[in-house]
Amino acid sequence: MAIAQLAVPTERFTEWAGYDGPVQLISVDGQRTVGCPYWELVADVDGHQLRDLYRDMAVVRRIDAEAMALQRQGELGLWAPLLGQEAAQVGSARALRPDDFAFTSYREHGVAYCRGVDPVTMLRMWRGTGLSGWDPAEYNLATPAIIVGAQALHATGYALGITLDHARSAVVAYFGDGATSEGDVSEALGFAASYTVPVVFFCQNNQWAISEPVRLQAHASIAQRAQGYGLPGVQVDGNDVLAVLAATRLALARAYAGQGPTLIEAVTYRMGPHTTSDDPRRYRSHEEEEEWGAKDPLVRLRALLQREGLADERFEKEVATAAGEAATALRTGVLAMANPTPDALFENVYAGPHPLLDAERDAYLEYLAEYDEVS
């Protein structure tokens, strides 16, 4: 389900870009805000679509919880939970068209879900049966970048390719607040601005880079950085799925129209640990977690749906069923995953033959065969 069909009038870009954020369309208590011009960018989102967005967020949260459980049970080596960032990921990814391309970091399971990737496939890298899971060309989604910020440059290069092709699509580069300190993100902003390429820099500022608070990365807002590159930068409430959708639509529309990159800072919160190896109690307070818990993106959207009579018991049940089925399918699929055979170690290092690697593979497989004979 892509909900990117709204025509965004070019002549109003400047007006929207000039809006002094943060953009918020749904208040923390689930009410529609008044007066924000970004409302027009989601004017077409009806009750049916709001429910779809909620369902996506709920399913993604359930998948995330199941992956956490699988890790705790020893079935995954590691997991980086997205808990709390569902609105930022679903709201932005649902703005994309199929021919747009996305580059992500390792926490964007919600983005991968919206691009159509089977969650079982997403977990291959976390279970260790492969370094990644899917074919980037099939979903127009690169596999996760683990080196922080590196993907911002890949996104910029891909967008430069779109420009050279005279095509009309765009790229989204997802990264976090920690990544904004990386040189690659700065270089990507510079290159993208210099070449006016169709890329959206989507920063999920989730307040924490493992144990480092965002104030260690920056003393001004991340959105403000855009100004130095001559780009529009906008801060949105990242726990408000409509605000995220609106801002991403605007940025994409600018990109399609040849007006170049936009930096979006989605202010959100990593409600869980950095990964399953992390312990947030060592560096942040319970009070802070409670404060952000009150801004939970799913709670907020559910409140809006209830307020507007869109979330009856039947809908709630339907969502719970969808989430439960996704979790069961994930668990079943992960437990059934085959381990790779030793020859896979040597595959796909090079496109063509490579005498050193070929010799090492042959020698090792021969060694294994001898060992098998002995044992």
């Binding site: 980037p136 440059l153 890949h154 290069g157 390719g161 510079g190 290159f191 063509g352 490579h354």
Partner: protein, 352 residues
């Protein structure tokens, strides 16, 4: 694989020229720099997905003029000046490759490649493996390298071992104009990423180039025996090939017969050609500008010792830079191997 000794083009051992290609009636004489330029032009002509990117490569034609005239000819959408950020150059090349392009990046000087090291080692080299062969990253990264031009700091380094050590990369280096012309086209055509080291002090040395010769006459990763000899094999690459040929010339006058092998490819290394030579001569000296410690020579010495042990009549010896940073220009003649230092190691090999 054919033994390359049959390709020997200079039957005398008094080799003092770097012209190493068979001369053909169609061959024209040009410098290495011009040959690379012609090779790049051919690659741009043959495949419209080939694009060049780098700092100052457009109007200026690169600080060594290797891309001279190419932006005029192919436009600024195919020959692209980039902002000054090496990681940015290589990282955006990755994205372009994913979009179906075949980018050729120029790193202005050897010592400037390190800001791009992460993108090369973590991204370019591993993308195919990480994506289980579903994604190709056919990026060529051209790096002028080596010393001998009296440059300031960071302009004379030989960082090839870092890249040869990295799985997923191919690493090659031409030593002469004909190889420059051919190998740059082969590198660009490769579906694997290639680190293409250009011996900058040889940019102005001339050789015969047959621009119509079929590329597959000589595979990208094959070593070439340049002078046949019987006493000691000298394996060199890039800028040290000419120096080794000079040593062979002096050696011949002194009655020492050296067989000079131009490795051409550093990953993979053509050990077959090298071993054939060592089995014949029984002695090997490896020469490079890079520091000897953990240099390519170490790997070559280890492999040749393993595989030619019963043919060797002396330990494999290495000639190269010292375990120092690259020194100031007025000291570089002490750092860089010359013909005398090569012959000194040759003599040690020959001592009973």
């Amino acid at each position: 694989m054919a033994v390359a000794t049959t390709n020997t083009t200079n039957p005398t051992t008094t080799a003092t020229t770097t012209t190493t290609e068979p001369t053909s009636q169609r061959a024209t004489t040009m410098t290495l720099g011009k040959a690379l330029n012609a090779g790049l032009r051919q690659a741009l002509t043959d495949d419209d997905k080939v694009i060049l990117m780098g700092e100052d490569i457009g109007k200026l034609g690169g600080v060594f003029r290797v891309t001279e005239g190419l932006q005029d000819e192919f436009g600024d959408r195919r020959v692209i000046d980039t902002p000054l950020a090496e990681s940015g150059v290589v990282g955006t090349a990755v994205g372009l490759a994913l979009r179906g392009y075949r980018p050729v990046c120029e790193i202005q000087f050897d010592g400037f490649v390190y800001p791009a090291f992460d993108q090369i080692v973590s991204q370019v080299a591993k993308f195919r493996y990480r994506n289980e062969g579903r994604v190709a990253v056919p990026v060529t990264i051209r790096i002028p390298y080596g010393g001998g031009i009296g440059a300031v700091e960071h302009h004379s380094e030989s960082p090839e071992a870092y890249f040869a050590h990295t799985a997923g990369l191919r690493v090659v280096t031409p030593s002469n104009a004909a190889d420059g012309h051919r190998m740059i086209q082969q590198a660009i055509a490769s579906d694997d990423p290639v680190i293409f080291f250009e011996p900058k002090r040889r940019y102005w040395e001339k050789g015969d180039v047959d621009t119509d010769a079929p590329l597959d006459d000589m595979p990208l990763h094959r070593a070439r025996v340049l002078t046949e000899g019987t006493d000691v094999t000298v394996a060199a690459y890039g800028p040290m090939v000419a120096t080794s040929l000079e040593a062979a010339g002096i050696g011949a006058e002194e009655g020492i017969s050296l067989e000079v092998v131009d490795l051409r490819s550093l990953s993979p290394i053509d050990f077959e050609t090298l071993e054939t030579s060592v089995h014949k001569t029984g002695r090997l000296v490896v020469v490079h500008e890079a520091p000897v410690f953990c240099g390519l020579g170490a790997e070559i010495a280890a492999r040749v010792s393993e595989r030619c042990f019963y043919s060797l009549e002396s330990p494999v010896r290495r000639v190269g830079g010292f375990a120092t940073p690259y020194p100031a220009a007025k000291l570089e003649r002490h750092f860089l191997p010359d013909a005398d230092r090569i012959l000194h190691e040759v003599d040690r090999c020959l001592q009973p």
